[in-house]
């Protein structure tokens, strides 16, 4: 069974806050849910499927379902793959809808890392000490003691990519430059200043070879999506964004033999999604690509087949990712690098901007002409250890 054409993205909402000192995390989830339902023209009583990940407080979806007063949920999914969770959820929602398990699926993400929530760098906390035996994650004792953070584990990938393919810091910087060109038009973007390659490579080194401006922003906030059945979609007065294909793929060190940090799980999730959708990378008009760091974008663009492996540096240079300028307009909201990376998870905003582009509702300065086919792709966890790649391909109907 395929999900092609069996489900529609009919609601998308990105919380306008980037700093939320006085709004709780459950409240942010609920406000995002309300925003997406209003966008779709639905109410909470229409929701019969709820999807969330580890940022939702309380036993998977149970606390938020109760908080939001969702009375008609008959399908739950709290698959957790870090920042890519919400892209995974779009695929899972489409599957559940295709199987008749629900017809209106709500996906939410929210959090407040700027106000006491998780902060980047805390990703690999040690779990030992005290003399007692642990029964936690099996890799913990051998990995979590070495000061691994998102920055330096992604730095390791960048270092190896440079070694194998000659990729340069200047090439990586072009990815940030492109994001900043887009963010200048987004009134909600956390960073709106256009930056240059020189500014990126001269910003302070965080974890070799990644500079401060190679890293995404840290923001509070959240987002929500509504995925519906074709019948519900036809009843709504909104542009219809059809889900064509989805793929997911976990990747880890796998026993340590043949470790290759220069590619991501996108080499598997991408082909799965493209095959189901019946399209190729050359057909894609707009791409939302997870941008926790510049290297994340470079590797995923290669792995998804937008260029040959090792040629990503050349592909992104000279404005290759800038809307209206380059070959592949990407992250036209400014992405995680400039706009928003709510609670250190950028998956949902990737889908939201793809929906805006397919509806023709992106900012006029960055709207891609005749944008009828888009991809949203993300990586959750760590590229340098274990992660899950997730790909969704969508098209505008009519």
């Amino acid at each position: 069974m395929s999900i092609k054409g069996k489900a529609y993205l009919m609601g998308a909402f990105e919380h306008p806050l980037r700093d939320a000192p006085t709004t709780s995390t459950p409240q942010l989830h609920a406000e995002c849910a309300r925003g997406a339902l209003i966008d779709a023209g639905l109410t909470k009583d229409d929701v019969d499927g709820y999807f969330c990940a580890g940022d939702a407080p309380g036993f998977g979806g149970l606390s938020m379902i109760d908080y939001m007063g969702l009375k008609n949920v008959r399908h739950l999914d709290s698959t957790e793959t870090g920042g890519s969770s919400y892209i995974v959820h779009v695929g899972h929602a489409a599957q559940a809808i295709a199987a008749g398990k629900c017809s209106v699926a709500l996906i939410t993400l929210a959090g407040r890392p700027r106000h006491g929530g998780r902060r980047p760098g805390a990703g690999m906390a040690a779990a030992g000490g005290g003399g007692a035996l642990s029964d936690g994650p099996p890799e913990a004792g051998f990995e979590n003691i070495y000061g691994g953070s998102t920055h330096n584990t992604y730095g390791m990938c960048a270092m190896r990519h440079m070694y194998e393919y000659g990729t340069t810091s200047e090439q990586l910087a072009w990815i940030k430059v492109a994001a900043s060109h887009h963010a200048q038009w987004n009134e909600h973007a956390f960073l709106r200043d256009v930056v240059t390659v020189e500014e990126v490579v001269s910003s302070r080194m965080i974890a070799d070879p990644l500079h401060l401006l190679d890293c995404c922003v840290v923001t509070d906030g959240g987002g929500a999506l509504i995925v519906t059945s074709p019948e519900v979609a036809r009843s709504l007065n909104r542009p219809k964004v059809r889900v064509l294909g989805a793929g997911e793929a976990p990747k880890g060190p796998r026993g340590g033999l043949d470790l290759d940090l220069t590619h991501s799980g996108a080499v598997w999730s991408g082909p799965r999604a493209f095959e189901e959708a019946g399209v190729t990378p050359a057909d894609i008009k707009y791409a939302s690509i997870y941008d926790s760091f510049t290297i994340t974008v470079l590797m995923q663009i290669e792995d998804l087949g937008f260029c040959k492996k090792g040629e990503g540096g050349k592909f992104v240079s000279d404005g290759g990712l800038i809307s209206g300028v380059g070959k592949l307009p990407f992250n036209t909201d400014g992405g995680g690098l400039c706009n928003n990376h709510p609670t250190n998870r950028g998956g949902i905003t990737k889908v939201i901007e793809a929906v805006r582009q397919l509806r023709g509702e992106a900012h006029p300065k960055v709207q891609v002409r005749n944008c009828d086919l888009a991809i949203a792709h993300g990586t959750g966890g760590s590229l340098g250890t274990r992660h899950c790649a997730a790909t969704v391909i969508m098209e505008r109907e009519g």
């Binding site: 005290g130 035996l133 936690g136 004792g141 920055h151 390791m156 070694y163 070799d208 060190p253 026993g255």
Partner: protein, 135 residues
């Protein structure tokens, strides 16, 4: 440059020891570096676990390793209250890649392909942890 930053050191927290991995840490306390090998498919693997990640055999054994290999990749973390430190992977001569810290080397002294050897660093209240220094 101070001695500490010339030769990167970083306090290492106590590792999580499980019933499955206790032999590794007991050996570490004696200065011996163990890896796991599958007696069915003969492959060595890392991190140590009871079941072979390649063939799912339960017939795995501990094997003492000289802990020699080459740097696969690394990153020097500059955003650190205790000074810069290097995280990276070593490809052991037996095959598996091991996540670790590199010590006894200056931040600009590391290179992919450099030969390194294991040593053990005391941790904060736990058994000593394997780190790697230039061979």
């Amino acid at each position: 440059m101070s001695e500490a930053s010339a030769h990167m050191t970083r306090p290492i927290p106590a590792p999580a020891v499980s019933i499955e991995t206790k032999p590794f840490w007991d050996a570490a306390a004696e200065g011996r570096f163990l890896i796991k090998r599958c007696t069915e498919c003969q492959k060595a693997f890392w991190y140590p676990r009871a079941m072979c990640p390649f063939c799912m055999s339960a017939e795995t054994v501990w094997e003492e390793s000289p802990g020699e290999g080459v740097i696969y990749t690394y990153s020097v973390m500059h955003r650190s209250p205790t000074g810069p430190y290097a995280i990276g992977y070593v490809t052991l001569n037996e095959g598996p890649a091991v996540l670790t810290n590199f010590v006894d080397v200056a931040p600009d002294g590391l290179a992919i392909g450099m030969k390194v050897r294991v040593k053990f660093q005391p941790t904060e209240g736990g058994p000593p942890a394997p780190v790697f220094a230039p061979a």
